[in-house]
Symmetry: D2
Subunit: 250 residues, 4 copies
Amino acid sequence: MAVSKSFYAIVAGTGAGTGRSVALRFAKSYPVVLLARNPSNYEDIVSEIKQQGGEALGISADMSDPAAIASAFENIKSEYEGRGLGLAAAVYNVGARPAIKPFLELAPSDLDASLDGNVRGLFHFAQATLPSLLASVPTSPHPPTLLVTGATSSVRGSTRFSVFAAGKFAARALGQSLAREFGPQGVHVAHVIVDGLIDMPLTREYVVNEGREDGKINPDAIAESYWHLHTQHRSSFTQELDLRPYVEKF
Amino acid sequence: MAVSKSFYAIVAGTGAGTGRSVALRFAKSYPVVLLARNPSNYEDIVSEIKQQGGEALGISADMSDPAAIASAFENIKSEYEGRGLGLAAAVYNVGARPAIKPFLELAPSDLDASLDGNVRGLFHFAQATLPSLLASVPTSPHPPTLLVTGATSSVRGSTRFSVFAAGKFAARALGQSLAREFGPQGVHVAHVIVDGLIDMPLTREYVVNEGREDGKINPDAIAESYWHLHTQHRSSFTQELDLRPYVEKF
Amino acid sequence: MAVSKSFYAIVAGTGAGTGRSVALRFAKSYPVVLLARNPSNYEDIVSEIKQQGGEALGISADMSDPAAIASAFENIKSEYEGRGLGLAAAVYNVGARPAIKPFLELAPSDLDASLDGNVRGLFHFAQATLPSLLASVPTSPHPPTLLVTGATSSVRGSTRFSVFAAGKFAARALGQSLAREFGPQGVHVAHVIVDGLIDMPLTREYVVNEGREDGKINPDAIAESYWHLHTQHRSSFTQELDLRPYVEKF
Amino acid sequence: MAVSKSFYAIVAGTGAGTGRSVALRFAKSYPVVLLARNPSNYEDIVSEIKQQGGEALGISADMSDPAAIASAFENIKSEYEGRGLGLAAAVYNVGARPAIKPFLELAPSDLDASLDGNVRGLFHFAQATLPSLLASVPTSPHPPTLLVTGATSSVRGSTRFSVFAAGKFAARALGQSLAREFGPQGVHVAHVIVDGLIDMPLTREYVVNEGREDGKINPDAIAESYWHLHTQHRSSFTQELDLRPYVEKF
């Protein structure tokens, strides 16, 4: 494992699933900053990365709070950019878990929770990271990358998922807009539609796809696709891809 | 003009363009409630409807303020449903005009303005009107209808339109979710992608489509499509259609 | 019923469902030419139109055979354009019923049958009608219109429907291309996604949507949407709309 | 370079661009069969692979001719499967270059050329390779994979590209249908939308994207994404992804 001494990565929204696997995957090449609301969501991952010879820093921040983000990024920038490291990749994986309910039973706060986690947080995160990503364009070994985690509800509104879809569609809109604006400047912005249940402790008891083997998405497999997106040559950027188990109905 | 004495319609977001034309079109068949933040946005239309023998009521309300909406709908319900009228159609046409800027020049309030007008307002409006629309299912001459006005940015994120697209994608997600939830209960929810500049006083000076005749969308033509959607048989509902000038590039 | 003495319409692919209803609907305003492979598919409709005071002409032609189409259109043009009538609307509704089978059980002829009916026929039909539609632009009361009937398989490939989807996707591609090419010249090209089972003699015994009332699409309702598309103002053309029963899962 | 002695790959449609790069990339791990109409399209690539220590076999076959394909596959199967090798990956990259013309200037043969190369050939290729891919499911180190090369015209019909779009939409329909049918059986079917001009001898003189560096797609970069698709874990399959230069307008 040869970790870069010139570039680092940020993963916002870590926990047991995609965020953890992506952080571990990117930590093979970069020092990684993990952002999560609760330290319990990154502490173990930070340790795991360090045990594997990597470098990691966990910072607690609520992505929907601009002041918290500003403070976290001051911290990050002084820690990494102050040492001359450039930002190579920023991953927005905040997993707002909004209310899944019939529409007439939802409260306005249910909508706000989805918009906060899925859109507002991404807006703040993108505003905080894009200047650093742009600054890395001339020197980064791979095109600096902003990756956004989507879901089935990013492309499909459905009964009981109305507010989740509102937030996820909006995040896709932001990602697509940023790809069109920052791609020509050399930053790769991509959106991943995770169309299936992720295999992690939280979902262990759920039975999907008739309980077939590999019927839930292995988050390490997701992380491989994120890494592939990051390493794409700038003449051949993917803006959007879907990921789902072979047995998933779609 | 035979205006119904049993059903009424609501149009939220009136002004000089789509809202005005839709209100006038629906007023040929129903008493129409016009909702807008400023009375100046509905007063002339109310007069125009009355002059043509129709019935109209303007109510001032900020769609992103739940309390204002609740109060407006109490007012509406006592005025119409108290007299035994059922709600036949509700049109959400609130035209949030958010900042059109490079992403890094946007303020968080620019995102909020888009989300407020496009999503939060629709959420409140749908929660306020769906119970009445459902109640009209058994008796309404046409399937009770909830119509949402979209735009190019409902299906395409682009440079400078990032926050507008965020709001519009989210509104489309809500509309699609509501269509799937309330369609089987008999309420028709449809989303219209207005993909072009509307011909109205505000846009008179803008030159689009090389200034060709009918190169801007006639809002009365939009209103005809809204009326068509409202009168579709329940065995043949449209969920989404696009509208654009014949000379528009797309 | 005031049938135009200056314009006529053509409906290709008539039978008991959409084609019949569209022919009857357009016959309220125009003399209508009905094209079908077998006279038994238009004879009754021609009689029905005449009984209602309309004008109709049935012509037998296989849409996938360019020579047959050429001959049919010579016939049509001498009959109508020879008398000075212009073409106001052309509807392509040829209902190729291709094999619905597992992919490895399909024969190449199954693919060809789908391509013949859905794409080749449309190609020939569009080449035969577009010059006449263009010629009608300056005088037609509504923008001259080319309408194409699609299906669920126009936008979704699925198990057992692979060759049907191949044909339907291709027809959608043609329609979309023609809309972009001929729209700016004043011809309205629209594609309708009929996303459900049509209620007609052939489907009477099928139980869909739990057998609920209006769970199959009333073809007269489809015809109303075709007529609406035809009468849209050129500043407000729809390129694509979907139609499905209120109880349809989608 | 450790080339498998148990599995092989097939690339149909080789030449100077994507096909060549994909063949070279897959040849790092598998013996590769190259299929092209003219030997001149694979001879140099076969030599190149052999010089790099790989194994390659070129076979001349017209993909739109079922008899030619049958004969080619008998040849392939006796050569590889007779020796006990299983098929790990099959890539359909046939580059039909159909007429790009105004619709009314197209001949029926222009449509046929597009359908032959894009759809019929894929149909035959998929029927010939899927049984072998299915047979490899239990033993293949990566899920057996069928990859289809698409283009901008796979998702967008446009002026002058009508018949190209017809063929490309149809191929996408086939690919999507096959993904839904064969995914649950363990075969990964993916479609790649190549949305830009490929950098190869044929396109060297074309100026796109203002002539900016990397403004054409490096076919080796495309090949990396094909390889990534092939190596995805079965719990995390991508069905469709887009590839375009960072400076491409989309």
